[in-house]
Symmetry: C2
Subunit: 412 residues, 2 copies
DNA sequence: CATTATTTTGTGGATTTCCACAAAATTAAT
DNA sequence: ATTAATTTTGTGGAAATCCACAAAATAATG
């Protein structure tokens, strides 16, 4: 099939119609996606489609695992760096058959993709050329969509910011806005913050937004940007393990940012998980509290992301304030410190390590490079010197807290 | 030996002289004590004295174990209820040889004792009569001492009260007063409070004072009375186990008050142990904090006396305040509560009991009357439902605190 | 420098904990 | 009322803890 003149010169009303036209010309199923792999249009009269395409059409977005594998195999990076069509071999793990893809460009930016599934036949050089022309012809329509989405995005972000700062209080008002903007409802949510080392440029924002759009672990209801912080309203899917899901999300986000965009050192946190929207502001503040604590007390909190996981550190600022007014003097701690000082021992360090390792003798001994019996001996001495009963939860905990608090104070 | 006329008619200059006179007449060593068993005077020209008397003279007070045994054998109660001389058989445990005692009375009150040690000879009926007369004759001189002591006591109490309320601040000023009033210095001290069910009458005050004067476990530097509270400045003797000594003191005080005066239900507490006197006010406040906490949260604190032992409850009022402002919501706790509610389970109670029993599976199971495996199973469920890692000290502790805090809030 | 006190490491055995598995009992759901 | 899910109790064996004791190493003291 040879097309001397541009077969896409004629106007078309919708991108669906356009997809069908390409499909007719190339004799294979066509899918058009936006830059975030959301479905824009697809050709209708095809007899066969592979599982990946089916899933894409059903959920109106490309499945996350498909996107991940397209990144890993270098397909998407190639599409983002060249206007040339690219053949993708079958990746059967994710139900992806042979296909050819091309990116749609506006100036120096990719604003979408066209996919041609090679079901019956393999595309020729000329067919590839044709696909490239199709990409150019689709530009304007995709751009319109893109602009429209951007405008909506701005309105939505403004709304989110009002929620975060508590400028919209009543549940009714919030719900009205949610449905007006077609933001899906969710039974529970949390505010999540990614804090970057530098200010978030609009380029970076697009990259983040891209990763979020292609994430299906949690539902991202809203997001906005504030200096170095990328702030999200996210809804974990399960009622059973919301914390687990959020942690997973954070970790996979960090991995993706690192692998795909070489951005390291993102600090992440999320606030409490709540069920009604009045708590958005609170959850946000809690997320900020976690970040602030992670900054001030990094060694103790590096593995903590959620406000709940922050545990006793939630009230450390409160305790510190009182401590600095001279309260909560712990004579056990004082005595142990004095003993350590005088005899060059490590009783406090030992105590701390022991409880950091969940009162597990062997683990702690290993971590401290000492014999387990040495650890036992030291604990016995700690009990004697500090006059503290190590079988008493209350006393144990108090000393543990006081040790951490002293560390915190020293860092301050 | 018969003495028709009163042999004590003649004036005498000092009680020492008087003791010698009796000793001459009865041919045995004589000791005169005040109502609190402090040595007032003793006869000098005696060839033999038993260990109890020696110790009494050396330390200028009757040893505590001797007093205890005189109470147990009913000697002191008898002396306190009758003017008649009383023979005491040897109590060899405490180094007490045979002797005769008589109490010195002023109106209806005992203000001292005279002891005659039967070293060589046994006292006859007439000798006893003589001793009784001696007690009457000693009255005035002993009373003078008694009054003088009382006056000093008043001045000292006033001074102590100023210390407690922070009206004397500088260490210098405090030290000056201490030496002016001949209060012994002590390397470390704490303020201790006994709170009685009712106001402290002057009778009760005397009884308490009596017990304190005869106590040698800790050194009582100062005391005073405020409504229902008997407030003491005490100095533990050892540097190693001051807490232990103070706890012992409290427990033995309670026992004595019960056994000797049938007074139950004393609430006791003490503040921090400090080394410089500026902290007296603070220690006092801490002691009051303990008492207040014991009142508000009795089940959790019934075995706590010292401020240090109060542990995490030291900052419960602080936490409660924040909690009531809506902070520190713990979703793990919320979920567990919901689960308990819905399925009629006891997860929270189980968790609490487990840590109250120092994470000891067997003990806890016994206390809850369940199989140890049931406990394990419940803990596993708690971890799942609350999304909490039971191998993580921080998370464990936070939930424990939050459970106790919820209880505390409910009691409020 | 010698002596004493304290700390560390090692050994062995009784006890306890931890788990996996399974049967019974109870509760919830259709 | 039957089925399914959850909870409780039981058994047994591997692993870990605890403890007493002792030798070696180190630190403190006169």
């Amino acid at each position: 099939m040879i097309h001397k003149e541009d077969p896409f010169k004629a106007n078309f009303d919708s991108l669906e119609e356009f997809a069908d036209r390409i499909s007719d010309l190339l004799q294979c199923p066509i899918t058009i996606e936006d830059a975030n792999h959301r479905l824009i249009a697809y050709s209708a009269h095809d007899d066969y489609t592979d599982p990946a395409r089916t899933a894409t059409i059903i959920s109106r977005r490309v499945p996350e695992k498909v996107i991940n594998s397209l990144w890993k195999t270098g397909v998407i990076p190639a599409l983002l760096s060249s206007e040339e069509p690219l053949r993708v071999e079958t990746i059967s793990d994710v139900g992806l058959g042979n296909r050819v893809a091309v990116s749609i460009w506006k100036n120096n930016e990719v604003i979408g993709f066209i996919w041609a599934l090679e079901t019956g036949r393999t595309l020729s050089k000329d067919d590839m050329e044709l696909l490239k022309k199709a990409a150019k012809a689709a530009k304007n329509k995709v751009l319109q969509l893109y602009m429209r989405k951007n405008k909506r995005e701005e309105r939505v972000q403004e709304f989110f910011w009002k929620l975060l700062t508590g400028h919209i209080k009543t549940n009714e008002e919030i719900h009205e806005n949610f449905s007006a903007m077609q933001i899906p409802a969710a039974p529970r949510f949390s505010v999540l913050v990614f804090r970057f080392a530098n200010g978030i440029t609009s380029d970076l924002e697009k990259q983040i937004s891209y990763i979020l759009q292609t994430t299906q672990q949690v539902q991202v209801l809203l997001y906005t940007v504030e200096r170095n912080d990328f702030i999200l309203l996210v809804a974990p899917k399960s009622a059973d393990q919301p914390l687990y899901e959020l942690n997973q999300f954070i970790s996979s986000f960090a991995t993706k940012m690192k692998e795909r965009f070489h951005i390291n050192s993102i600090q992440s946190s999320f606030g409490g998980i709540y069920e009604t929207f009045e708590y958005i502001e609170k959850s946000y503040k809690e997320a900020l509290t976690v970040l602030s604590m992670k900054e001030k007390f990094p060694e103790q909190t590096f593995s903590i992301y959620g406000y709940q996981q922050l545990g006793i550190y939630q009230f450390f600022d409160l305790l510190l304030e009182k401590k600095q007014q001279g309260e909560f003097a712990n004579s056990a701690l004082t005595k142990l410190q004095a003993y350590d000082e005088k005899h060059h021992t490590n009783l406090i360090e030992t105590y701390e390590a022991f409880f950091d390792h969940d009162s597990n003798v062997n683990e702690t001994a290993k971590a401290l490079n000492i014999h387990p019996n040495t650890l036992s001996y030291r604990l016995k001495r700690i009990a004697e010197i500090g006059e503290i009963d190590l079988h008493n939860m209350n006393q144990k905990v108090k000393l543990y807290i006081d040790i951490k608090l002293a560390k915190y104070e020293a860092l301050h």
